[in-house]
């Protein structure tokens, strides 16, 4: 690594000094026990609020709306230090998904109404995009919003709504017209989860925990002033946000220290004789191969971020980043499983709940390995499957 300039050194020291004292024990426990891209809800939102009070919650937002004014390098340093300290990653819905939509397409009035709660963490927004019949083919969505005076009346359902059971707000794509291309009749709406007629059903995942939800709407009234952008133009808003979701990433900041920890884990003595998994040359080679992949992701992210002017989105490179970062995380999760071996086999959901007093088997970090492996399979499915991303990428390079 290059020697950092004086400004970066000072900046890093400032971040580190804050991180040393700011997170509570519970927040750090939640950080340790994160086995999905979505960290434990309660403690993560508590951390969100602490960062808000510090003014550091939304480094990617414009300064006038609560951003930090940091450079791209400073944002990466912040992400690196957060990962080093082990605080939970913030939930992306408020800051990376609905926030950019309101910032990019909202009226002044909407910005004033909705942005403060997103930023402070008083509100938690969930995403209502996918439907049972609209996954990879998101534009096929059917959830209907019929015009009725100053309101829309919403009927239908949404699925894969992460933490829908914790949310008080939702941003949703709904169908306002069936004329023309499927993309042409979609509208972007903001709603309250306590509007009458909304029902939420949590879905249990492979690790035994509810993370995703199905959400049902029957005659739910949503005021038209909650519409972001024009009617039937919601697809543009969603596309803009999806590219935000895919770009500006800092997986490298997570992967680099995680790989260090995995190397340390592989060198732990297995018994009194002192031998370890790392004695196996094959394991050493696999770790080295993984490191090359990790460094390639880290520097691709940094390169894309560095060349991006403020407010620009990364275009087809966003698809590339989504593919390589999800696949390196999956590769990491597999090697971790192979290194930890038998100790990873018992699935210990109860012991892994934050604040649990149930003693599990073995080291806490070993207990996380299996749920992490299982959950990380979703990385090539969510936010546009890797098959869809490869098609987008192919379309872009063939067209040029």
């Amino acid at each position: 690594m290059l020697i950092e300039d004086q400004h970066s050194v000072e900046f890093r020291a400032e971040i580190r000094a804050f991180l040393d004292v700011a997170p509570s024990e519970e927040i750090l426990e939640a950080g340790r026990k994160t086995t999905s891209v979505f960290a434990p809800f309660k403690e993560t939102m508590a951390w969100h609020k602490i960062l808000f009070r510090q003014g550091w919650v939304a480094p990617t937002w414009p300064l006038e709306y609560g951003g930090t004014g940091w450079t791209v390098e400073q944002r990466y340093i912040f992400a690196e230090e957060c990962n080093r300290r082990g605080v939970p990653p913030l939930l992306p819905q408020n800051l990376q998904m609905v926030g950019p939509a309101v910032l990019g397409f909202g009226t002044q009035e909407q910005k004033e109404e909705f942005l403060p709660g997103m930023l402070s963490g008083e509100d938690f927004w969930c995403q209502g995009y996918s439907e049972p019949g609209a996954g990879s083919d998101l534009a096929a969505l059917k959830c209907r919003a019929d015009s009725d005076g100053d309101d829309y009346i919403l009927n239908g359902s949404k699925t894969w709504t992460t933490y829908g059971h914790h949310a008080n707000k939702m941003f949703a794509l709904v169908r306002t017209s069936s004329a023309g291309k499927p993309q042409a009749g979609i509208t972007f709406l903001l709603l309250d989860m306590n509007f009458p007629g909304i029902e939420v059903r949590p879905i249990v995942g492979l690790d035994g925990c509810p993370e995703q939800c199905e959400v049902f709407f029957s005659d739910v009234r949503v005021p038209k002033r909650n519409r972001i952008g024009e009617e039937n133009k919601g697809w543009n808003v969603a596309k803009y946000v999806l590219e935000f979701e895919r770009g500006g990433s800092s997986f490298g900041a997570w992967l680099v220290p995680a790989l260090e920890k995995l190397r340390a884990r592989s060198s732990l003595a297995l018994d009194d004789s002192g031998r370890s998994v790392a004695d196996d040359v094959h394991i050493q080679r696999r770790l080295t191969e993984l490191e090359i992949d990790v460094r390639a992701v880290e520097h691709t992210e940094k390169r894309v971020n560095a060349n991006l002017k403020h407010g620009e989105n990364p275009g087809p490179m966003a698809s590339l980043l989504k593919i390589i970062s999800s696949e390196v995380m999956q590769k990491f999760s597999e090697l971790q499983l192979d290194i930890v071996g038998l100790d990873a086999l018992p699935l210990q959901t109860a012991a892994l709940a934050v604040g649990s007093d149930i003693a599990g088997f073995g080291e806490e970090s070993d207990m996380l390995v299996m749920p992490y492996y299982l959950n990380t399979r979703a990385a090539s499915i969510y936010a546009g499957s890797n098959e869809v991303q490869r098609s987008l990428l192919a379309k872009a390079i063939l067209a040029s």
């Binding site: 996918s130 019949g133 609209a134 996954g135 990879s136 083919d137 096929a140 699925t159 894969w160 879905i203 249990v204 995942g205 492979l206 035994g208 995703q212 297995l270 018994d271 009194d272 004789s273 031998r275 998994v277 196996d280 094959h282 394991i283 597999e334 499983l337 192979d338 071996g341 038998l342 100790d343 990873a344 086999l345 018992p346 699935l347 088997f361 299996m370 492996y373 299982l374 959950n375 399979r377 979703a378 090539s380 499915i381 969510y382 499957s385 098959e387 490869r390």
Partner: protein, 379 residues
């Protein structure tokens, strides 16, 4: 050369498939996963009535004395049906070793009970440091102060069926440095079993032995044959476990084919997309390569080549099972990530299978070292 089930085995397999389909819906699997015991005692008694528990054992202990093809047939159907009863733990692992023991006083008393469904056993051999090698044992059997009694000390990991077993067989190093196996009651003083639920719902246990005192006649072997017999038993068990994995892989391919043909996106079934067609072809290829290596191992059972072929099979099921499991989840998308479909349950079963009894890395090292040794011997 036998590359498929013979007529008798096929009939038996068809009967088993029907039995499993009748008894084990996916709902039943989920309910058993969440139950305290983790399996159904009623099913176990039905296994006894159908003669499943006595298949590999000789007729003088009430068994049927049939070949491993029948055990493979059972395991394939159990894998396809996500069966959770500790069949491999009791019959193939512990029962298999007991049946080969020198100590016929023990086997003649215990095996009839096992066959009748009145006794469950488990085999405690894996240790944290052994990483799949059954001969790499830290547990010890030392002389106690009382007569010929022995004291067992050590720790065993992820012992399949430990939480339901009445008795266990533990491998330990005797004072002369030789490996032996010992039969112990699960309620013996100084024996601590911590029940575990594995990621696929199977039950196992972490077992600690602190000066567990046993009499000398609890030893299974008397003339140093324990190591070779233990390895042989594990090789047979791996053959059967691979058949279980193959049943799960075949079912995942069938489920994925069905899903891709019916799931519509972009106005067409997703099976229309070439990238998914190729994925399905690769999954099929993975299943067929595994099936070939399964039969290749079956053919040489009892010969000196068996260990090598079983290691190849286990390495193959490790990578192929992982690939088929991961891709089945991917092809199903979000719904494949949930408990609502059985896809995830098969994926987890294959994940656990890879890590048990020596994962792919272990088998590759074993094969490489064996090859090096052969080269050295030849020179």
């Amino acid at each position: 050369m036998q590359y498929q089930y013979n007529e008798e085995q096929s009939q038996f397999k068809d009967m088993l498939r029907k039995f499993v389909q009748d008894k084990y819906g996916y709902d039943c699997h989920l309910a058993l996963c969440k139950s305290e015991q983790g399996y159904s005692e009623e099913h176990w008694q039905q296994f006894a009535e159908l003669g499943l528990l006595g298949l590999p054992f000789s007729e003088n202990v009430g068994g049927l004395g049939v070949d491993s093809g029948f055990l493979m047939a059972i395991a394939e159907e159990f894998g396809r049906g996500l069966v959770l009863e500790p069949y491999i733990a009791t019959v193939v692992l512990a029962g298999g070793l007991l049946a080969k023991a020198d100590n016929s006083d023990l086997s003649n008393v215990l095996l009839p009970k096992l066959v009748a469904g009145d006794l469950k056993l488990c085999l405690a051999w894996e240790e944290r440091a052994s990483r799949g090698n059954p001969l790499d044992v830290n547990a010890t059997a030392t002389r106690s102060h009382i007569g010929d009694n022995l004291l067992i000390n050590g720790e065993k990991c992820v012992v399949l069926g430990a939480s339901s077993a009445d008795k266990l067989i533990v491998t330990a190093v005797a004072e002369d440095g030789g490996l032996n196996a010992y039969l112990i009651d699960c309620d013996a003083v100084g024996l601590h079993v911590q029940a575990q639920t594995l990621a696929d719902g199977q039950r196992a246990g972490q077992i600690r032995f602190c000066n567990v005192e046993i009499s000398a006649d609890a030893a299974l072997f008397s003339d140093g044959k324990a190591a070779a017999t233990l390895q042989e038993t594990l090789h047979e068990a791996l053959l059967v476990m691979a058949a279980d994995g193959l049943g799960a892989m075949d079912q995942l391919l069938a489920l994925s084919l069905d899903y891709c043909k019916t799931r519509q996106q972009f106005g067409v079934p997703i099976a229309t997309f070439q990238t998914l067609q190729h994925r399905l072809s690769d999954m099929m290829i993975a299943c067929e390569k595994t099936r070939s290596l399964l039969w290749a191992a079956f053919q040489v059972q009892g010969s000196s080549e068996f260990g090598e072929r079983v290691a190849m099979l286990k390495a193959q099921i490790g990578s192929a099972g992982r690939y088929v499991g991961q891709q089945a989840v991917q092809l199903h998308g979000g719904i494949g990530m949930t408990e609502e479909l059985s896809v995830g349950a098969y994926f987890k079963r294959l994940t656990v299978l890879d890590l048990l009894c020596g994962n792919r890395d272990y088998q590759l090292n074993y094969l490489a070292q064996r090859q090096t040794q052969l080269t050295v011997d030849a020179a």
